[in-house]
């Protein structure tokens, strides 16, 4: 039987659309810092791939860029493992047919959501095609990576 994985870090985004790649950038920083101890997955297109990425895990930490109207660079931490999300949040506009939060709710309905799921949402500023990451987002990437690594350590700890 395959060994059950403890935790997976999932960076979500499109590296060709400016701040939208914030999730990917954080995931790469976690990979560089933690090495093979932590599974890191980059979701760059099909969001249904999330269901496979966290299959068998006790915990998943997602990082994605958002545009909620808060100040650029603001970081929101959302616990998705508990109650279903408000439909107003999960039905946000997306260029993909299935949004990451739809994938979370789909997995919850199918009992395929890990018990612990946390989303780090980084407020983006510039999502234009071909744009580079804005200064306000760039300056929080390291601190979010450290916070994500701490989430993982808590899961990996013997008592976790």
């Amino acid at each position: 039987m395959a060994e059950q994985r403890a935790v997976v870090v999932i960076g979500i985004g499109n590296e060709l659309r400016g701040d939208d790649c914030a999730g990917l950038e954080v995931a790469r920083r976690v990979r560089a810092r933690a090495g093979p101890r932590i599974d890191v997955f980059e979701a760059r297109g099909d969001q249904l791939s999330l269901l496979q990425a966290w299959d068998g895990c006790r915990a998943a930490v997602l990082i994605d860029a958002v545009h909620s109207g808060a100040a650029p660079g603001a970081v929101h931490r959302l616990d998705l493992g508990g109650a279903p999300l408000d439909s107003a949040i999960s039905r946000h506009a997306t260029t993909h047919s299935v949004s990451p939060l739809d994938a979370v709710e789909l997995a919850r309905a199918l009992h395929r959501l890990p018990p612990q799921v946390v989303l780090y949402a980084i407020e983006g500023e510039d999502f234009a095609l071909g744009a580079s990451v804005s200064a306000s987002v760039r300056c929080v990437l390291d601190s979010v990576a450290r916070a994500v690594a701490r989430e993982c350590e808590r899961v990996l700890a013997p008592s976790g």
Binding site: S49, L51, T95, S97, E105, L106, A109
Partner: protein, 434 residues
Amino acid sequence: MSAPRRTRTIRTDYLARVEGEGAMYVELEDGAVRDVRLRIYEPPRFFEAFLRGRAYTEVPDLVARICGICPIAYQMSAARAIEDACGVTIDDGPIRDLRRLIYCGEWIESHSLHVYMLHAPDYLGYPGALEMARDHPDLLEHGLALKKAGNALITAIGGREVHPVNVRVGGFYRMPARAELRALRDPLARAREIALDTVRWTSELAFPDVELAPEHVALRDPTGYPIDLGRIVSDGGLDIGPAQFDEHVVEEQVEHSTALRARLRARGSYLTGPLARYSLGAAALRPLAREAAREAGLPPSCHNPFQSIVVRAVELVQATDEALALIERYEPPDRPAVEVLPRRGAGHGVTEAPRGMLYHRYELDDDGTILDARIVPPTSQNQRAIEEDMRAVVQRHLDLPDDELTLRCEQAIRNHDPCISCATHFLTLTVARG
């Protein structure tokens, strides 16, 4: 004194459960349809322009980026067009087999997504797949299992499931080992069973009695159901080679769309995709898929867009069954690609993307530099027919309140599985009434 005109506008600014960003606008005046627009506002992407000046060998990897759902289709049409320009033909043998096999993976992936996640909620009365999953988790699990089988096929041959990296002009960079493909047999056999079940349950759905007029256009391949090559034929008598596409298909700019709209010269709108493929090529289906279509009660020629969900299910049987047969006979060749030397000239390639015919034309310089490129995706070809379908839907349901009419129009659009991201060089719904 004449009575004041009564206008009614229905608009949806962001269409759900379609690929890409588009809108719909319907304007009614004095109880008649005045204007129907499928607005494609996703920004134009200028692929044809930036391909100019690139090396002919770079094209398959560049055009794969046009679509996250059907990158194989772009790679295959591009490779065929460039090979055509260079005087190389790959019409049989293990390289062609492997091309069909990876293309089967893309059909399985795309059709399972559309049938289960995007289209089924319209028939079962849910706003989306998520709400459907709470009551019908078994259906969603089936859709995900099918999709996973398609993904695995693409990953095994293409190197990764999104924007695969193993396709090149002349063939592949690396041929998979026999054992790598044989490992996919069990999940594909399971996927084939699910596909057969998908035909059964979709055939029992309630379909409105609707027939669309546009001419059906698809490839015809003398060796089987059309995927990767063939002549372009229609139920109106069209029978041309890929090189004649430019002569027969005209693309036009319209103000409300960042996609070009195509029509057949001197004939008008046409429809490409599963309905056309099935109607023109049902006899070429593999026996298992043909029998599944017969048991489902599909007529030999199908013009009802609502039944496209059954046709996609039949094509899922076709793709899974063919994939298993191709794996069974697969022997890696000595070389993964044939040599394709550049030469000055133009080449044409047409293949059947899951959503319909995808045409590429390239003009090469002596050293293989791309001088000119033309790409006509299926959604550009279908846009006029979709708008005509919407117009007929509105005309039939004028008495419905705005919210119900909006839903009918959205369903009519989803029947055609438009891929707006592909078509932009091109969705949201507005209805105006009076």
